[in-house]
Structures are given as structure tokens and as C-alpha cells.
Symmetry: D2
Subunit: 343 residues, 4 copies
Amino acid sequence: MICFNNDYSEGAHPAILQALAAENLLQNPGYGMDAHCAAAAAKIRELACCPKADVHFLVGGTPCNLISLTAFLRPHQAAIAAQTGHIAVHESGSIEAAGHKVCTIDAPQGKLTGELVRRVAAEHTDEHMVQPKLVFVSDSTELGTIYTKAELTELRRVCDELGLYLYLDGARLASALTCAENDLTLADLAQLTDAFYLGGTKNGMLMGEALVITNDALKADFRYIMKQRGGMLAKGWLIGLQFETLLENGLYFENARHANAMSARLRGGLAAAGCRFVAESPTNQIFPILPRAVQEALAKEFGFELWGAGDEAFQPVRLVCSWATKQEDVDAFLCRLGEVMAG
Amino acid sequence: MICFNNDYSEGAHPAILQALAAENLLQNPGYGMDAHCAAAAAKIRELACCPKADVHFLVGGTPCNLISLTAFLRPHQAAIAAQTGHIAVHESGSIEAAGHKVCTIDAPQGKLTGELVRRVAAEHTDEHMVQPKLVFVSDSTELGTIYTKAELTELRRVCDELGLYLYLDGARLASALTCAENDLTLADLAQLTDAFYLGGTKNGMLMGEALVITNDALKADFRYIMKQRGGMLAKGWLIGLQFETLLENGLYFENARHANAMSARLRGGLAAAGCRFVAESPTNQIFPILPRAVQEALAKEFGFELWGAGDEAFQPVRLVCSWATKQEDVDAFLCRLGEVMAG
Amino acid sequence: MICFNNDYSEGAHPAILQALAAENLLQNPGYGMDAHCAAAAAKIRELACCPKADVHFLVGGTPCNLISLTAFLRPHQAAIAAQTGHIAVHESGSIEAAGHKVCTIDAPQGKLTGELVRRVAAEHTDEHMVQPKLVFVSDSTELGTIYTKAELTELRRVCDELGLYLYLDGARLASALTCAENDLTLADLAQLTDAFYLGGTKNGMLMGEALVITNDALKADFRYIMKQRGGMLAKGWLIGLQFETLLENGLYFENARHANAMSARLRGGLAAAGCRFVAESPTNQIFPILPRAVQEALAKEFGFELWGAGDEAFQPVRLVCSWATKQEDVDAFLCRLGEVMAG
Amino acid sequence: MICFNNDYSEGAHPAILQALAAENLLQNPGYGMDAHCAAAAAKIRELACCPKADVHFLVGGTPCNLISLTAFLRPHQAAIAAQTGHIAVHESGSIEAAGHKVCTIDAPQGKLTGELVRRVAAEHTDEHMVQPKLVFVSDSTELGTIYTKAELTELRRVCDELGLYLYLDGARLASALTCAENDLTLADLAQLTDAFYLGGTKNGMLMGEALVITNDALKADFRYIMKQRGGMLAKGWLIGLQFETLLENGLYFENARHANAMSARLRGGLAAAGCRFVAESPTNQIFPILPRAVQEALAKEFGFELWGAGDEAFQPVRLVCSWATKQEDVDAFLCRLGEVMAG
């Protein structure tokens, strides 16, 4: 069965497996104190024009988010997130387990705005409530949408005004940064956020995310929290090596461009077939609303996730392409779609 | 520089890299719900004669310990550990961060006994103190020593008597089970403990540990806690595949036997040179007490950890061998030792 | 200035001060292990027809809620509450600080229904989300409304169906149980909930709440959690003695009846003057929507809380009466209201 | 039965009951924002010569300790305490429940020294261990001993050198400051510690402790944490009023002087009868080592706590006097002691 369930079904870009094989019997220091992590961090600082940033390598997105918020927030402080935000829904209460409330607000297209942040902040007036302190956004979002430079700049302005940190979850950052509509750069992110991460797991690495902390006030003792919360890999060099490999020759962005291209092809085919979409996503996740019979027929041959419960007539679904998605599989899906819609 | 610092300096056994390469472009379900995890779990259940056990795959030892104790203990309950226990010293307070006290007691050779457990339990008499509920042991221990079947059986007996869980950290379990002095089997562990794990990171895997929960009362909803604490790898199949590979042909134990053999060779050479040891370790970690000048001379050419502060005349050190340690490197060390001691 | 800000502005019913004075120099065991706590607990068990219930005395509502949920829930489990619920808004994230998410839903009149609970539960489908496990309701609610026996019975039915606990915050329970519209008894509460508490702080005691746990599965080791979270008063007998005093002669309910009568008088006067209300509250809190000019004029002479931001024309406010509210103060308020509205 | 079990068996000094009665029907703002708390805080600042200190009123010692450490420490930071320290033994793991390890060390006479602190700090070298950040001492200690000005000054010096906070638990501070051997003043405490508290519960108040934070870096948002952890009393003015009453006419110290005098009388009588003591306590707790038969005979008529298990011949006990202890009761004890020892 061909699956569009997610972008972490396959292993890693072949260049990574080659790099691992080459390095395999050499001895590296543990816990990310090795030359590969140092080189990957240096490369990231260079690409993001933030020579003083701290870069840490973590195993996955949930540990990255929970360890960051654990390190950044005092016990009474809360995060602000879109109601659809990953930490608000799909991390099993990891932020609450770390002691912090996630204040959510309905955010059109999954995107927070300065105005929405201001509204949440305004509801919290004294010590009988939590103190919102950090704005959590994702790029791309849970709905595959992206932030423009103007939008992120406005969020930064409101955060500065209200004394909030701005944190960006970049599990699918490469897809966001390489899509046609994007006008943000890594350097913009480093300048506009207090911390953000570059996702690896969903962009052709076995595992791994690279957290970039640019706000000096958030840097101290981060490695203590990483270790304490189980987020410091013994063979940390594995993550450093993978980022080094992907970033060296632009493979990191090439992987994402491929995933985007495959999604665009899917999206085009679905639109041509008359489908509407839950959100206007230019990235590697798309959310077509399929006639129920179509969805059921396709589900027999292709893997994908249902998105919400739908109604009698229609069922929204999520289709995700990855660095490894084959064009022939996309075409097979669209071909079958055509047949099914034709009835 | 040849390093005996630890057993996680190298990558993975070549068979693992081959298996990864073969699987790399296939699509696997996420989060450990794949066929490789299922097969590896089945193999572990078979080897440990515990057909009803739950098996979970985690990224490393610290997440394994902290997630287990988080899942097993109520908020007022505490663990009992040797003063040298990993959770008591080297996990940055991860158990306390999860809300639980670790009650420690000085344990000769790093090993808890029924009597020591009883003593800690007896000190905790009412609700103004924590309630010890889980005994934490490692095999091999932090000092490289191992538990005998009689010792573990006695611990089980005391745990039953006092209503305590028995949890065994098996980061270096393969080394323990394959050393000459060992009389425990995986089946014994499954029968005598409530939960234990088979370590992979320190025995030739890129990363990964396999937690085995045999006590039905501790099984419910474990995956929720795994996810919540950041311990559920997106590409969980990577860990399943690695255990599958190592367990299939006995490589898991072969790796450890090699590490033990290399350590035994080191130990023999050191003893022959007149060195004493901090503990009588039959496994892949040894703790010779070197004359200070010898230690300093060796440190110029070989990597190893200092063990405590030592005194003017002597410095204890830790030497660790791994599945990948080369006999020629061991011999180089011993040769240089001879030269220095002859000095 | 006459204040209608809350029901905890004054000290305690004079009978309590007398009882304290009489007991003052006698020696009582600490931490609630005394005869007064025992007698008060026995009286509560008798009144609520739950001879096997555990009764614990705590200092205030927030500690009562946070200690209960800490004791009752496993780390991945969450509470379901109305969006206006006290734990969701006004306890500074105490439940999240204890590690648990509060899943909120917009609840008309501040009251959860079986249907609303079902809806929240249905959104939580697997281990990537929290597991709702406890339904949190208040009687009276944050809006002064009350649950009927039919409504609470329906909630119980849905909780049983879904495997949820039902917890009732009774900070203002006496006011709810003694208002004209009420058809619930203490015995109903003991039968329909897993745990609930009788509030003292807001009903004429210096401080103190009495938690009643009827579900056997939730009883174990509760005192450990009380102590651990700072909720076990050294002179616990002070709370026992106060409950003993108020419950002995029906003063507990008499206090509430008085507060309700004063609120009803206020409500009647406000309605007669043409005011609408945010909610239909039959208890000791009422929420009139005042013309802004009226609110501003009254605020010069009377204390009360604003309820939300209002708009240009109108400002909702909260008026609370207590066991100690004087009828002459109510009449003074209504008199001034009349003058102001007359312009 | 006459009890020397503790110093919180009785209610409150009669002056407090009078003040409560006088204030009872007046309306006070909630949560400690009232005039009595303000006045008591001002008085404490004056007595301790720390005009800029923040003063907070909490219900008891455990909430005071746990809320302070929760507010002061980051997640990876730990407290250093004597092995006998209250937070290490008798608070049911409250500090661990707040996420922090308590690093203990055997401390002669229950007193930490600069040297002991240095030793604990030196063991914690990197991010794989917790980071000790706060030194926890009590005055008087759990063994009734006290710190001299020289000793506390030395602790401060070491804390400054190592970047540690110094926190002093003053549950029995009045007894320490008023005993004959004491050379510390409130002003010294304010200058030498980062935060300390004046105990009320054990010195003639119904309940309540006054926390004084002098280090500016520890002041921010403390009330959020108080509320969140259930430590903010609705009728906070009750605590303010009590401190106001006791501090106004020196009653706070007079209470303690009486308790000390009663203990001294007991101690003298016990020493005259040939008893040895566990520690040399000049305060209101003493720890005589009684012949077992004597202890058993006395236990039939007097209440007191056993201190440890003792041996066949001897049993250490704890005798505590309070502001309310009557001289005739002390004499009755000593008289009976004489009879029993005479056999």
C-alpha cells in the first residue's frame, strides 16, 4: 500500500546512511560534545546569521518543545498557542506535565496573529491566573499553512510590547521555507524569534531536530534540562552528523523542495478534480475534503489520515508527501482518484 | 587517541547498518506500531519466557528509567537505590523532576540487598515521609558488578514482603548476562522483576532500549506516558529493527561477550601489573586504581574517565570496552602500561 | 465602604469564635488526628449517608482541588471542566502545575452536561492526546447557578459510561443546597460523585473545607498527598472544630440561607429596577448587568467586582452576599441604586 | 494527659483571640491584600532592618518551604540540606514533588557548615548531575540547636563564593533568637540570608508564617506561585492580624522566652537526674536519652515523641515546650521522673 500518512515513514536520505557507514567505527565523544555536532551547529549559525546562538540537537519534536518550554518558563508561566497547535493537542499534555498551562485561542488557518495574542494576554490580569509568557507558533502550521515575514514581524512586535518570548516549532520548517509563497529566511527566524528549531525527523533524517536559541536570557544551563528530561542522546553525534550531511550540500532544502513539489502535484490534481481544501496549504501537507464514497474507495489502496469526523457527504483527509515520495505514487493516487470520481 | 571512556563511542554493529539500508525506503507506521517492533517484542518475550509481557522501545536509558518510574509510581511514592545508582547520581535529577524522591543507601559493591532495602523501608513510617515503593537496581551495576540469582531472588522476596516493585536497569544487561560469573537468565529477570530493560545503546545499537513490563498492574497506558515525556520516537521502527537484527542471530549476546573478553584482557593485564581495583567487576567496565604518575602518563595516549578524586599516590579510573573494542588497542594499552610502570 | 466583593471578607460566625476560645488552651494532637476532626467527619458521614466515606479537612478550595486531582489522576490523565470553571481560570494553573491538563468546553450557564462531557471525551482518541479521566463541576457554579438532581444524575451516568470520575467543588455548596430551586441533598452528592467537598471558608468559617471521598479506589494514601502539597494544617483540629460547631446545630445551612436571602433581596431590587443578569443565579452570587453610569456611581460607595469588560453602555458586575451580610447594607445598596437610576 | 509532644497542641495566645473577635465582623480584602498584612509586613521590615524586603504570609512551614523553593529554583537546581533537615525527612517529599532534588549530608548537631556545603557542591560537576543552588538551614534546627552569627556568616561567605542562595526555615526562629546562647538578630538574618521566615504556628498563633525575601532576584511574581500551590489563604488578613498582634508588644518573643524557660527547667531537671542528651539544645525542644524503663513509665502519664529506635537500655525522646506550657506541668513531669528513677 502506498502511504501518504506522514513524512516520517521512510528512513533517511541515502547520503545520511553513507555518512553513518563511513563514521561507524570511529570513536566520538558522547552527549553531543563531538566534532559533528560542533560542525553542524556552526553551519546552522552561519546559515541563520546568528553567530552567537546556542544550538542543541534533540531527538524529536515533542522533546524539543517540552524541554525548551521547561527551560524557558517559570512555574506560573504559560504558553499561548493556536487551538490546533501541536503542544495543545498532539503531545499528550507534555507541556502541562512540565507544569505549564497552554492557553489556546481559535486561530484561522492555524496561525496566531498579534491581535489573537493580545486578546489572550488581556484576559490574564493578576496572580489568580497563569501568566502567559511565551507564544508558540509552528511553521509550517498543523494545517500546512505558513507565516509571512510581515506576520512574524507583527507577532514579534506584540511579543516585545507584552514581554513575551516567541518560540517557533520548525518540525516542518524546511517545507515552509522552500515553498513558493514563503518570504522568510533562516536569518529572519533567528532575528524574529527567541528560539526556533529546524526539523530533521520529517525531512529525511533518521531522527533529530536542531534547536537554535538566540535570546541570551534563555541559554543558561539548557543542557541540564536536556539531560534531566531524557532528551540528551548518548550518541548525540548521530544527530550532528545527519545535520552536517544534509546542510553541507543544500540537501536539507532539496529534500523539502521535493516533498513540496509532490504535494503541489497532488493538490493540483485534487483541485482539478473539483476538491475543496480545509486550508490553503502550500507545503507538504494538504487537506482535501473528499466525497465520502471517494474517500472510502481510495482508502482501500492508499494510506492517509482522516482529518476530523466529516459529515455524511464529505470527509476531510490529510495527505503528506516526504523527501522520499515517488512521483509515480502521486500519479497513481490521482489516477485512481479520477477513476473513483468518474464513478 | 584510543578511548576506553565508554561503550557508546562507536556507531552500530555492521549488521544493523545493513538492515537499515535494506529497509530505508520502505514505509513503516510511526511511533513503534510497526512490524519490526512487533517482531522484536515477540522475540524478547520468547527469550525471556514471558509471553504476556508488554515490551516498549525507548531511545535511551534515562528516558527509560524516568518514564517507567513516572508511570509506575503515585506522587508520594519513592524509589530505593544504591547511593551510586544511576538515577541517584547521573541523570540530573530526572526522577525528582518527575516528582519522586530517590532514597539512597550506601551499598557495598554498588549492590542493594534485601537487608538494605528493609532498612530504608523501616525508616519511612508515616505520611510525613515519602513512601518507598520501588527498588531500583542495575545489572551490571555502576561499578560493573553483577547480581547473582540468589541475590535477586532475595530482593524479590523482600519486595514481596514489603509491597515494593522491583525494577532493573539493564543498560549493560547483555554484559552482565554473558560474563563468566553470571547465573541469571532473561527468564529469571522476567520472573523476578516487575519490569526491566535490555540495553541497546551500550551494546552495539545506534540507540534504543527495550523495556519489558511483566507486572500486569504496571502496564496500563504506558504509551501515554512515553509520548508525554518525549520518549516515543516517530520512527520507532528504527529501534525495533535494531533489536530484531541483534536478537535474531544471537548478535546481542555476542557483542557483549566480545566487550567482556576485552575487559577481561585489560583486567588481567592490570592485575598482573599489580593494580588493585575499586570493585570486582566481571563485566565490560573495570575500575583499576592506578599510581598517579601512571595514570597521568597513560592519559596522554589513551582516553578514560577518572573515578572520584583519588589521593596523592593513587587515582582510580574507569576503563570500558565495547562490542567494537579492538584487541590490538587493549594490547597497546597494556604494553604502554608495562612501560610506564617499569618507568 | 460596604462590600459585596465576596463571601470571605468577614471572619467567622460568632459560635466558632466561642468554640475556639473554649478549646484554646487544651492540647490537641496535630495534623487532623484529633477528636474534633473525628467528630466533624462522623457528622458529615451521617448527614451525607455515606458511613464508609473518607473525610479530610483542608485549608482552602484551591488546595482541596489541586490535592484531590493530584491524588486521583495518573500523569497522562486530564480533567474536563467548563470554560468558566474555577480550576480552568482562577487557580493560577494549579492543576497544570500538578501535571494535568484541564480540557475546557463552553458550558451555558457555567454548567457541564452529559453531552458536553461526551463531546470532550470523543475528541481524545489515543495516546498522542491526554486521557480525560475526571469531570470537574462546582455547585453552585462560578455563575451562581446550580445543578439539579436530574442533571447530576445524567452526568454520573455519562461518567460511568466513559469510565470517568465525577468531582464536585463545593466551595459554595451550602448556598446551592439551601436555595429555593435546589433538589439535591448531601446524600445525593455522596452517591452521585466520587468525591466532593463542603466549603467552609465562604460560609462562615475562618478557613477550611471538608473533602468527602466515597469512591474506595480514590482513598489510598490521600494524607500523604495532603502533607506533600502543603495542605495538612499543623493545628488541623481548628478546621474540625469549626465544622463540628457549624454542623452541630444546623448553623452551616443557616449561614447559607441567610446569604441566599440577602442575595435574593438584592436580585429582586435589581430586577425591579429593570436590570438584566448574566446568569440566572438563585444562590449567593448574582451577576447584574448595570448601565455603565450606574455602575460607576455605585462603585464610589460600594465594593463589588466587575465581571468581564462590558461594552460602552453596560458593565456586568458580581455582587456576593455572605452569612454576615446585613439587610440594612443590602437596602442601602438598593436605595442608592434607585437614586442613581432615577438619575 | 500532659503532652510535651510539640509546640502546636494549643490554640493561640489570648491576645490573638481578642484581636480576632474585635475584627471579626469588619470586611477585609482577600488574599493578604489588607491593612493588617500591610502593617505586619511593615513591622517585620522595621524589626529586621530590611525596608525593601518582600514579606508574604503563608499558612504553614511546609507550604512556606515548598513554595519558596518552587519560586527560587530552576528545574535542574537542587537544595543542600542536613540529613536531618525538615525538607529532607518530614515533608513527604514536597521538594521532590516540586521537581527538585534535596542533596543531603550528615551534619553534626543538625547544622550545616561552609565546609559541608562546599563538599556537596564539589560533587556536582556537570550537567549529568543536578546543580545545587540553595542552602537550606533551620534555626533552631531539627535537633533544637542554633546557629551562631559566626557560623551563619561563614555559610553566607561560602554561598557567595559558590553562587548559592541561603534560605533559613524559621519555624522555631523565635525560640532560637530568644535563647541565652543566641547572638543573631532579625537584622542579621535579613542581611545574611536571601530569604527566611518567622514561624507563627509553633509560637502561639493559630497558624501562619511570615516569609521575608531580601534578595531582589527572588522577588518577582512570588504571589503567583503562592496561589498556584494552594498557599494563598482567602482570609489572608487572619495571618497578618496575628503577626501584627504578637509583634506589636513583643509578645512574639515573650512567647518564645516562656517556651525556652520551660524547656530549660525540664533540661535542668533531667540533667540533675543524670540524663544525657542527643544534642545540646538551648531552645524549646530537648532530646534526653531515658533509661527504657523510665521512658515506659513516664509514657503512661505524659505525652512525648520517641526519637529514633534506641537500644535495649536507652530510648531517646523529644520533649517540646510551648508558649502555653505550664510550669506546674513541667514540675509534675520532673517529679514523676524523680520517682521513677528512684525506682
